[in-house]
């Protein structure tokens, strides 16, 4: 389950960041920020090829004592990035799950974009989006 979900705009400013409230959220924000560099690196590496629909960053980006955090990235055709920090201690390999989560994120994001009252570049304040993200977040007791 994700512990932090972030939607980053093309200009690398956040459109939406949400973390589970227990931990120090800044840590997650920092992880997201550092992973952005990796994402940009991968994007530029694509070059001529079409932008890959899904991009995985797998790895121990920020090991902590409590649990191992991995951050995954996903880039849309409009250079909007989704970064997700997951707790990988519970389940081992969840590649398909991660992909499905990103797909859901992408679908919700397109729904948000379809709303004519949403101006691209605004913070995302859609309740549907929030509820969808909540469903993905880990339930911390």
């Amino acid at each position: 389950m994700a512990v932090c979900v972030a939607v980053i705009a093309k200009e690398n400013y956040p459109l939406y960041i949400r973390s589970i409230p227990t931990e120090n959220e800044l840590k997650f924000h920092y992880m997201v920020h550092t992973s952005l560099d990796v994402v940009d690196e991968k994007i530029s590496a694509m070059g001529k090829a079409l932008v890959d629909q899904r991009e995985l960053y797998l790895g121990l980006l920020y090991p902590t004592e409590d649990y191992k955090l991995c951050s995954y990235g996903y880039v849309t055709n409009s250079k909007v990035k989704f970064v997700m920090v997951v707790d990988s201690s519970n389940t081992a390999l969840r590649d398909n799950e991660i992909r499905s989560m990103f797909r859901k994120l992408h679908n919700s994001y397109t729904d948000v974009m379809c709303n004519p009252f949403y101006n691209p570049g605004d913070r995302i304040q859609s309740r549907a989006f929030d509820s969808m993200v909540t469903s993905m977040m880990v339930q911390v007791c």
């Binding site: 379809c114 004519p116 009252f117 304040q125 309740r127 509820s131």
Partner: protein
């Protein structure tokens, strides 16, 4: 909501039934009409247009009413358990209401509505998806017609879409905040395609209206506002059968807010097993609508959404403000009300009009002020002929006398429009006096003259006061202009200095 509760408690004492039946109405003021359909249906055999306070409820009718209205909710049992205590507590309050068939302005329902509203708001998340009880979320016929008309104004083809930008412009006129409008769009655009079909548009419009009346937005789209329901419900006169069908069919899987509906819908399928209540409801529903229409006080001149609640005026005003507020009627020109009495000024003080006419060319900002002087002159002209001639002749001559002051102040022609009124009033007064016995005709003008002299003094004083005010304003304006002149002079000096400083450089 209460209906389902009532249904479940069918076997309970009638009091509870009565309360439960009443409660839905009372839930919100706005709902009174929407709720009416169920009540009305049941009351058809009784007096359809009973006022809420007309007759005390009798238990047997309540008994009868309950099964008719809704065969719903087995599902409601869970929510029901939350509500037994409040219902019973409200018994004594609700019962006297009787089978109120829908005077929206009834105060006891309103009072109870306030009691119950807080409760119903709590129940919203649970009851939001029940079929009937969504009083604020049910679109009535009149509302729907209005929405459809508005849709047509944006998109002539009712079966086509309204694009997002067009809808955005339209809904922005409602003056709701953008986040709220965004949320309403989110709720109403079921397929998230960025365009609104007619049912989606109706749902969105309805939500906007509800929000403007102060009703909080729901967490999820209520079932009565869902496109399938709206499409199925309105074209057909008998809603209930289609309602059940649509519910069983419609199972949107995307949005999580709708997951709440699924439980409701599944239970609704069970409800379809109640053929008797459903049929009764269908037949009654149409009549309930008709009754509601009769009771509804639709303002005929309302260009915008007409709601039958107490807050209808607020909705109307809100929508009026939101949608192209009509241009205000032209303001009546200011006139001196006592102009008619000032005619004597010209008679007794020929110098006064001259001085006053000297004030006549005012600055463009102050035209109204000197007008009293003009009206005084005109009124003098009126009274003078009236003193000497018959009222009919005075009326004729006064216009001619008016021409004299007219030539002086070309800027004052507007004021003269009221002249015809003044002579009319003037003529009426003297005619009442002069029209009497001829012998008294001579005496009466004298008394009229005396009265007019006193009026004349007052008029003079007011004129003086106004002239002083005009002077003050002019003096202020003068001082401001002089101040500006000084500043401009200083700027000019500064610029000239700069120029001189620069000049030797360029020369060199």
């Amino acid at each position: 909501m209460s209906k389902t509760d009532a249904e479940i408690r069918f076997g309970n004492p009638a009091e509870l039934h009565g309360t439960k039946v009443q409660i839905p109405y009372l839930i919100t003021e706005k709902n009174t009409f929407k709720r009416m359909d169920d009540e009305d249906k049941q009351q058809e055999t009784q007096s359809p247009t009973m006022s809420p306070l007309a007759s005390p409820p009798s238990s047997p009718p309540h008994y009868q009413r309950v099964p008719l209205s809704h065969g719903y909710s087995k599902l409601r049992s869970s929510t029901e358990q939350m509500h037994p205590a409040p219902y019973e507590a409200r018994q004594p309050l609700v019962q006297p209401e009787g089978p109120s068939s829908g005077a929206p302005g009834a105060k006891p329902p309103r009072h109870q509505a306030s009691l119950i509203r807080s409760f119903s708001v709590e129940r919203e998340p649970h009851d939001n998806n029940s079929n009937y009880p969504d009083e604020p979320w049910r679109i009535t016929e009149e509302q729907r017609e209005y929405y459809v008309n508005q849709f047509r104004s944006l998109q002539p083809d009712p079966s086509s879409f309204i694009s997002g930008s067009v809808a955005k412009n339209f809904f922005t006129k409602s003056k709701l905040s953008i986040p709220e409008l965004s949320y309403i769009w989110e709720l109403s655009d079921a397929d998230c395609d960025g365009a609104l079909t007619l049912p989606e548009f109706c749902a969105a419009f309805h939500l906007i209206v509800a929000r403007k009346t102060g009703y909080p937005l729901p967490e999820g789209l209520p079932p009565t506002l869902q496109p399938e329901y709206l499409q199925a419900a309105f074209p057909k006169p008998k809603r209930e059968c289609s309602l059940f069908d649509s519910y069983s069919e419609s199972m949107p899987a995307n949005q999580q807010p709708r997951e709440l509906n699924r439980m409701e819908k599944l239970s609704i399928k069970d409800m379809a097993d109640f053929p008797v209540p459903a049929q009764d409801v269908t037949s009654d529903d149409k009549q309930a609508l008709l009754q509601r229409l009769k009771l509804c006080c639709l303002p005929s001149d309302l260009p915008l959404f007409c709601c039958r609640s107490y807050s209808s005026t607020s909705i109307e005003e809100a929508m009026k403000r939101g949608e192209d507020p009509p241009t205000p009627p032209p303001r009546p020109q200011k006139t001196h009300s006592r102009a008619s009495s000032l005619d004597l000024n010209k008679v007794f003080q020929p110098s006064v009009p001259a001085t006053k006419s000297g004030l006549l060319p005012p600055p463009p900002a102050l035209p109204p002020r000197p007008c009293p002087s003009q009206s005084e002159q005109a009124s003098e002209a009126e009274i003078h002929p009236q003193l000497n001639r018959a009222p009919s002749q005075a009326a004729d001559s006064s216009p001619t006398k008016k021409d004299i002051p007219y030539s002086q102040p070309p800027s004052k022609p507007i004021r003269r429009k009221f002249r015809p009124e003044n002579p009319a009033t003037e003529n009426q007064e003297p005619s009442s006096t002069v029209g009497g016995p001829a012998s008294a005709a001579t005496g009466k003008p004298h008394t009229a003259v005396q009265k007019q002299s006193s009026k004349q003094k007052k008029a003079i004083q007011t004129a003086i006061r106004k002239n002083k005010e005009a002077n003050a304003v002019l003096a202020r304006l003068n001082s401001e202009l002089q101040q500006q002149l000084k500043e401009v002079h200083q700027e000019r000096i500064a610029l000239e200095n700069q120029l001189e400083q620069l000049r030797p450089v360029t020369v060199l």
